[in-house]
C-alpha cells in the first residue's frame, strides 16, 4: 500500500489554489535543501570560523561554540531564516484547507468512528496525560503539536500531521512511493527470513500511515498501534477504516504499555526515537522487549543523522534542535542505542544496527533491531 498521497474520507479536500500553494512550498524547500543547505559547511569555513577566531583568538571548542561560529556566517543565517520560514509555511499551506474543510472532515470522522461495524477499533484513555515532553511542544513547528485534542471527534492533529508530512517529505527529496513500512518489511525479508507476524504493534503511529500499510501487507495479522493524542488517533482510526484496513488504535504511552508480556510477534517504531528524551527512550526499549514474545522481533527505525562525518556536520544537522522545535534531535543523534538495547535486556549478539535504503528516492534510514531470546 502506498502511504503518501492516498485519498480517503477524512483528508482535507484542497482547492486547486491550495494545492498550488503546497506545491510551491515543496519547491521552495527542495531548492533550499538541494541548492542552499549544501553550502552551509562552506559558509562555516569561509565566514563563520574566521569571524569566530577573530573575535575569540582561538578555534571553537564545543558544539555550542561551533553553533556560535555558524551563526557568525551571513550566508548560514540567511539559509537558517529562510528554512525556518519555509517550515512555518508548510503548516500554513496545509492548515488553511484543514480548518476550512473541518466541519465536513469531522462529520466524516464521526461517521467512521461511530459506525456499527468496523474493521479495527479505537480505544482512547481520558485519564492519560499525553507525554508532556512531546505534547507541550510544537515539534517541527506543527501548530498545537502531536497531542492536541480539541474535543469530541476532533481530528486536526492527525490531518495536519499527514498533510504536513507529505509537503515536508516531498521537499526533503523523499520519494512519493517511499514507505517506512516497506523498508521494514524488506529488512525482515532479508535479515529475518520467513518471519511473518501474526500480531504486531506500531508505537508512535501518528496518523497511522505505516500501521495501515502493515495491515494491508499482512491481511491476516492483528495490527495494533499506539500514540499519545486523541486528535491524532481519531484521525488515524477513521483513515484506516476509510481505506478498508483493520488496525486497532490505542491511546497509550510507549514507556508504560498496558499490553501483557509476550503478546506480539513484532514491535516497531518509526521516527519515534528522535522525538523523546533518554529516560523515555530507555523505558520504551524495555517495554518493547517485554511485550514481544520470545523469538519475536523489535525494530526501531529513524532518521539517518547518527553518523555525521565531523563535529561541524553534527552541529549543522542540529539546526532542527534550535530552530525546528525538535528538542531531542541531538539526544537521538548522539545516543548509544546498542548500549540502551542491551540494558533493556537484549543480548548483545541479538542486536543489529541497519543502514537502510529508501524504497523510492535517495534517502536513507537508520534502524536498530533485536530478537528476543527463547
Amino acid at each position: 500500500m502506498r502511504v503518501r498521497d492516498l485519498q480517503h474520507a477524512v483528508l482535507p479536500r484542497v482547492t486547486s489554489e491550495e494545492r498550488s500553494r503546497q506545491e510551491a512550498v515543496v519547491s521552495l524547500r527542495r531548492l533550499l535543501n538541494t541548492r542552499v543547505r549544501p553550502q552551509n559547511i562552506d559558509a562555516y569555513s569561509a565566514e563563520g570560523l574566521p569571524a569566530f577566531v577573530e573575535a575569540n583568538g582561538r578555534q571553537p571548542q564545543s558544539p555550542d561554540e561551533v553553533q556560535e561560529a555558524f551563526l557568525m556566517s551571513p550566508r548560514y543565517r540567511r539559509w537558517s531564516a529562510a528554512n525556518r520560514a519555509a517550515q512555518e509555511m508548510i503548516w500554513v499551506s496545509v492548515g488553511e484547507p484543514t480548518y476550512r474543510d473541518l466541519d465536513r472532515m469531522t462529520q466524516a470522522a464521526a461517521d467512521l468512528i461511530d459506525a456499527p461495524q468496523k474493521l479495527g477499533s479505537l480505544t482512547l484513555d481520558p485519564d492519560y496525560d499525553p507525554s508532556p515532553e512531546v505534547a507541550d511542544l510544537d515539534i517541527h513547528l506543527q501548530p498545537g503539536g502531536y497531542g492536541m485534542d480539541r474535543g469530541e471527534h476532533d481530528v486536526v492533529a492527525g490531518a495536519l500531521y499527514e498533510c504536513g508530512g507529505n509537503v515536508f517529505s516531498f521537499g526533503q527529496g523523499i520519494g512519493r512511493g517511499d514507505s517506512k513500512a516497506s523498508v521494514i518489511i524488506k529488512l525482515l525479508e532479508s535479515d529475518y527470513e520467513g518471519f511473518v507476524p501474526g500480531k504486531m504493534l506500531d508505537m508512535g503511529c501518528s496518523a497511522g500511515a505505516a500501521s495501515a500499510a502493515y495491515a494491508a501487507h499482512w491481511p491476516d495479522a492483528e495490527v495494533h498501534a499506539i500514540d499519545i493524542g486523541a486528535g491524532m488517533l481519531r484521525y488515524a482510526h477513521a483513515r484506516a477504516e476509510s481505506l478498508g484496513v483493520a488496525v486497532h488504535f490505542h491511546q497509550m504511552d510507549a514507556s508504560a504499555l498496558t499490553f501483557e508480556d509476550d503478546s506480539f510477534d513484532l514491535v516497531v517504531t518509526h521516527n519515534v526515537l528522535h522525538e523523546i528524551g533518554a529516560d523515555k527512550r530507555r523505558a520504551m526499549l524495555r517495554e518493547a522487549l517485554r511485550v514481544v514474545r520470545p523469538g519475536g522481533v523489535v525494530i526501531h527505525q529513524d532518521v539517518d543523522i547518527r553518523r555525521p562525518p565531523s563535529l561541524i556536520h553534527q552541529v549543522e544537522r542540529d539546526w532542527d534542535t534550535h530552530f525546528n522545535g525538535e528538542a531531542h534531535w541531538a539526544t537521538y543523534a548522539t545516543a548509544d542505542l546498542i548500549a540502551d538495547m542491551h540494558a533493556a535486556g537484549f543480548p548483545r549478539e541479538a542486536i543489529v544496527e541497519h543502514d537502510l535504503a529508501a524504497i523510492h528516492g535517495a534517502n536513507r534510514w537508520y534502524a536498530i533491531s533485536g530478537k528476543k531470546p527463547g
Binding site: S20, L71, R78, A85, E96
Partner: protein
C-alpha cells in the same frame, strides 16, 4: 465551511513557542518571511494563469505554446510597458521616495 481567513486565524491561534532569530537583524528576517510568502503567492497566481491559458487554447483549438507565444506590437505593447513601469514603481517605491531614513 469556514472562510480562508477564519481558517488561517484558527491555525495561528494554536501555534506555540517562540521564533528563534537567525539573522543579525530581526526586521530583515521579518521582511524575508513576507517576501517568501509573497513568492509562494506568485507561484499560486502563475498556476491560475497557466490554467486559464490552457483552457483558452483548448477553446481556440490551438496548442497552448502558440497562445503563449502571442506578442503584441504598437499600442498594446505600449500599454503593457506602462503597466510594468507602474508595477515596478510601486514595488521599488522606497528607492525613489524622497524621504530620507532618520
Amino acid at each position: 465551511m469556514t472562510s480562508s481567513v477564519e481558517a488561517l486565524t484558527s491555525l495561528l491561534a494554536t501555534a506555540r513557542g517562540n521564533r528563534p532569530q537567525s539573522m543579525a537583524n530581526r526586521e530583515a528576517e521579518d521582511v524575508l518571511n513576507i517576501t517568501l510568502a509573497v513568492l509562494v503567492e506568485l507561484a499560486v497566481a502563475n498556476d491560475r494563469i497557466d490554467r486559464l491559458e490552457r483552457m483558452v487554447a483548448d477553446l481556440r483549438g490551438e496548442p497552448v505554446e502558440e497562445l503563449r507565444d502571442l506578442r503584441y506590437e504598437g499600442e498594446i505593447a505600449q500599454q503593457r510597458q506602462e503597466a510594468t513601469d507602474a508595477l515596478l514603481t510601486r514595488a521599488l517605491r522606497i528607492m525613489i521616495d524622497p524621504r530620507a531614513q532618520s
